[in-house]
């Protein structure tokens, strides 16, 4: 199909293009309590074709682009009409000129995942087996689960010689844990694994069961006020995503961020931990076919890399790094147990923790928290947290304990002083 698309592009005189092919296969299981409710399988091939129109006016060069989906069932006539229409649209888009990444045909990269040797249905069932292995209590149990085992082979071909392909395996999904006593509550959990790390997943499930039991016993909201708040797990990743976003060429070019290499972005007098963030090449290439390598984004609170694809990098006059989805943060300075010795509110579950990279505001409704007053621990539910990373960033302390997820490896917890919490009356 890629050859056919290239032939038609050539016939239309479209000499600047990028074709992305994704072939994917999945086995999916939808479980309600301990019953499989639906079995699914998918077999898909998708293409996205970006066409570029380079123009010149008054001595200034422009690049217009437009992307269209192309489907396996398209005949030559529809394909030609679709690509011609995309080029027509691109001719009206006048963005500053930028070149596509240059490259050559590279050897396809096979996945070395432990899932690679197993049929997808077996991968899905193996993860279900681990999930349900810990489901042994009558009062706290797996309410429902969705498990997707997915194999993908991606290929990117462009008009400047890039021709790369790579294979990935992932088992991802979500599960809901319910505890029926003393209160009937549930907690929602997502997972994604590229390796069959059974021990880690089993530990996650057991942790989720314990958390849900705690939520069932929590009835009191936090008294309203200002707290040292501890965030943990995936919420730490969400919080530090602020810096990843702000160091993106796209935000900088649009003037939403003033980050530049060498800028100290956590403030002038960091009293907590100065952040280091590394971009990890979890896949060999990004969606434009740019080879990814591990890079340091922030080092001790100072910007070391501005990350971006071909267009934004060209606009800023920097090297295109490609676009990353996985970060690593080094170990912090405090033991998690030390963090909890001072009065604090450790929020472990939100309904939806949000970090707004534009305003710097973070917050959400509290589903489960532990209130430490130095001696006692109270389980808390209800109320909301509303903070600003711009106010907090000089005083954040990260834990020595580690946490790993599909897109993050780094400190398990972060302590943030002086965060406002709105308490509520119990319902």
């Amino acid at each position: 199909m890629i050859g056919k698309i290239q032939d038609i592009l050539n016939g239309l005189g479209i000499d600047t293009y990028c074709i992305r092919e994704t072939r994917s296969w999945s086995a999916e299981g939808f479980f309600v309590k301990k019953n499989l409710d639906l079995k699914r399988r998918t077999t898909l091939t998708d293409y996205q074709v970006s066409v570029y129109c380079i123009s010149e006016k008054d001595g200034e060069r422009f690049t217009g682009d437009s992307t269209v989906p192309v489907y396996p069932g398209m005949d030559d006539e529809e394909l030609k009409r679709t690509l011609k229409s995309a080029y027509h649209a691109a001719s009206f888009v006048r963005n500053p000129y930028y070149p596509l990444p240059e490259g050559k045909k590279e050897t396809p990269v096979s996945s070395e995942s432990g899932f690679a040797g197993m049929p997808l249905e077996k991968c899905m069932m193996r993860v279900a087996e681990i999930l349900y292995a810990s489901d042994v209590c009558e009062d706290v149990f797996v309410n429902s689960a969705e498990i997707f085992a997915v194999k993908k082979i991606r290929r990117v071909v462009n008009s400047r010689g890039v021709d790369v392909s790579w294979e990935t395996f992932e088992v991802n999904g979500e599960y809901v844990i319910q505890c029926i006593t003393p209160n009937d509550v549930e907690t929602h959990h997502r997972f994604a694994m590229r390796e069959p790390d059974e021990a880690a997943f089993r530990a996650d499930v057991e942790h989720a069961l314990r958390q849900t039991r705690d939520r069932a016993q929590a009835t009191q909201p936090a008294p309203g006020g200002t707290y040292t708040v501890i965030l943990s797990g995936e919420n730490v990743n969400t919080l530090v995503s602020y810096y990843v976003d702000r160091a993106s060429a796209g935000m900088i070019y649009q003037r939403y961020s003033d980050y530049e290499v060498g800028k100290a972005v956590q403030g002038e007098s960091v009293r907590g931990d100065a952040l280091t963030i590394r971009l990890k090449a979890a896949e060999p290439y990004d969606s434009q076919g740019i080879a990814l390598t591990d890079r340091t984004l922030l080092e001790n609170g100072v910007v070391r890399t501005i990350q971006g694809g071909a267009r934004m990098a060209h606009y800023l006059g920097i090297e295109p790094t490609g676009e990353y989805r996985w970060i690593e943060v080094p170990t912090g300075s405090a033991a998690f147990s030390e963090m909890k010795k001072r009065p604090c509110l450790h929020v472990v579950l939100f309904s939806d923790f949000q970090m707004d990279s534009m305003t710097g505001c973070f917050g959400g409704e509290i589903r489960l928290a532990y209130l430490y007053d130095g001696t006692d621990i109270k389980r808390i539910t209800g109320g909301s947290l509303n903070g600003s990373i711009l106010k907090a960033q000089e005083n954040m302390t990260f834990s020595r304990e580690r946490y790993r997820s599909a897109a993050y490896e780094g400190p398990f917890a972060v302590a943030i002083p002086d965060v406002t919490v709105a308490g509520i009356s119990a319902s």
């Binding site: 086995a27 939808f30 309600v32 019953n35 499989l36 639906l38 079995k39 699914r40 399988r41 998918t42 077999t43 898909l44 091939t45 998708d46 996205q48 682009d65 437009s66 992307t67 269209v68 989906p69 069932g73 398209m74 529809e78 229409s85 009206f92 888009v93 963005n95 249905e121 069932m125 279900a128 087996e129 349900y132 309410n143 429902s144 979500e174 809901v176 319910q178 549930e186 929602h188 309203g224 649009q254 939100f350 309904s351 939806d352 949000q354 534009m358 710097g360 959400g364 409704e365 589903r367 209800g382 109320g383 909301s384 947290l385 509303n386 711009l390 406002t420 709105a422 509520i424 319902s427």
Partner: protein, 476 residues
């Protein structure tokens, strides 16, 4: 004019009929859904413009669903020819054949009974005034740039203005032993955003427009840019709110988010099947003020959640969920209704042919009341007028609320003071909030600019809204 049918679906229809005939020989029940979703997204801001024909919903493909007498199985694919039909049959056969021997210990399967269908043949298309596929990209971009420029000219403090238009034309064909349904739906949404910087903070305000139709939406966007720019400048002086419970007036968009997030998700009956929804225990009981009547329905009105039949071949409904404060029923997909022994309500929706169908909302709203907005504000000693919802998260199990709102306008002694507080988190207990509703304006307004997720995925287009409401709400 009517939204056109898909030439591709017309061309492959004989192959789909052959596939269905083969499936019928192998299984007691089978269905085939074909979907061809075309869309285009136009976006301009200060420095860049884009035209993208490959959005989140763009997809063309098929899903077969079979019932083997006890269990359901599905296979999604996106290529069909005479030559690929045997492979499609093999794929669904292998999936259907996965038996309990392959399952983890202690895991079984949910058992179902044979679907019952009535003979139905249907063909329908929505209407539009200005067909986007017949409107030149140049004309659309030029109009959007004009709107953007008016926003940028509003004040030197405006950092950026964004104008976005998104049209979506989806054609579907559903075939089963007794059903032959075809629909063509065209909706368009638009958004204007203005942004300004306050140090490292980027403050922004937006206006949205949506309709079941085409490029006639541009007329609605014309007046919005200056309003968004004006509010953005106000936000530069916004203050953090003191947490507490306040008398609030919610504008129709905030009402819509409360309707959708706080209550709508809680009456999705696939959650009843899993015992994940508190609402199941409250059928026939007061859950809201007697002023409140709530609907959900793809057939109820013309907005972005409108369609003629759902992704399981059930014709669209207009379901009265809450009738004068009393919870009457939930909304349901077909498979959940079979388990619960209820009637499906035409709410079985897929993100695309690639995904499973779930119970999903469509157009969801509160009916209007009799109060004026002026009277609502005048009735408040100290409180807030809430505007510009940004996101929310459901909690069907415990009826907790989390809604994020950008603007709370201060009301003191029955008047707006001009002071703005931002950002705001709405929290609380759903029935408490709904029972506290004491005033409602006459005319419900619906907005279909956003998408609805199920948890953190499965995005579908919906609309929601209602009138201005006065309620007691905890803000933080």
């Amino acid at each position: 004019m009517k939204a056109k049918s898909s030439p591709y679906i017309r061309a492959v229809r004989p192959l789909l009929e052959k596939l269905l005939a083969d499936l019928k020989q192998r299984y007691p029940y089978a269905s085939v859904l074909a979907s061809d979703c075309r869309e285009k997204i136009y976006r301009v801001n200060r420095r860049l413009s884009d035209i993208n024909g490959s959005g989140m919903l763009s997809a063309r493909g098929f899903v077969v669903k079979v019932f083997d007498g006890t269990y359901w199985s599905e296979h999604s694919f996106n290529e069909i020819t005479e030559d690929t039909i045997p492979d499609i049959l093999r794929q669904i056969a292998e999936t259907s054949a996965i038996s309990e021997g392959a399952f983890p210990e202690g895991i079984g399967q949910n058992e179902y009974t044979l679907p019952e269908e009535e003979e139905t043949v249907f063909q329908g298309s929505t209407e539009c005034v200005k067909d986007p596929e017949e409107t030149d990209d140049d004309e659309i971009l030029a109009r959007m740039e004009e709107i953007r420029d008016r926003g940028l000219a509003f004040s030197e403090k405006i950092l950026d203005c964004i104008v976005q238009i998104n049209w979506n034309h989806t054609s579907k064909l559903f075939l089963s032993p007794k059903k032959d349904l075809e629909q063509n739906i065209l909706w368009t949404t638009g958004m204007t955003v203005a942004a300004a910087a306050k140090g490292q903070e980027i403050k922004s305000s937006f206006r949205t427009a949506s309709l079941l139709g085409g490029m006639e939406i541009m007329d609605q966007l014309d007046a919005d840019m200056e309003k968004a720019a004006g509010t953005t400048l106000e936000l530069l002086d916004s203050l953090p709110i003191e947490a507490g419970e306040y008398d609030c007036v919610c504008d129709p968009e905030v009402t819509g988010m409360i309707v959708h997030e706080a209550f709508g998700h809680g009456v999705e009956m696939d959650m009843f099947v899993k015992k994940r929804a508190l609402a199941e225990k409250y059928i026939g009981r007061y859950v809201a003020s007697p002023l409140v009547t709530m609907h959900d329905g793809a057939a109820a009105l013309a907005q972005t959640g409108t369609y003629f039949f759902d992704d399981e071949g059930i014709m669209a409904h207009d379901t009265v969920v809450i009738d004068r404060g009393i919870l009457r029923t939930g909304i349901s997909d077909y498979q959940s209704a079979r388990i619960l022994g209820t009637e499906p309500t035409g709410n079985g929706r897929r993100e695309s042919y690639r995904r499973k169908a779930y119970t999903r909302m469509t157009n969801t709203w509160f009916e209007g009341g009799t109060d004026s907005v002026e009277d609502m504000i005048a009735s408040i000693d100290y409180g807030f007028l809430l505007e510009e919802p940004s996101s929310g998260m459901e909690d069907p199990k415990n009826w907790g609320i989390q809604c994020m709102v950008s603007i709370a306008r201060e009301i003191r002694d029955g008047r707006l003071t001009g002071r703005i507080f931002s950002p705001i988190v709405l929290t609380g207990y759903v029935p408490d909030l709904l029972k506290s509703i004491s005033m409602m304006s006459p005319d419900p307004q619906l907005s279909g600019s956003g998408f609805c997720g199920k948890g953190y995925k499965e995005w579908v287009k919906v609309s929601d809204g209602g009138p201005y409401i006065k309620a007691r709400i905890r803000l933080g």
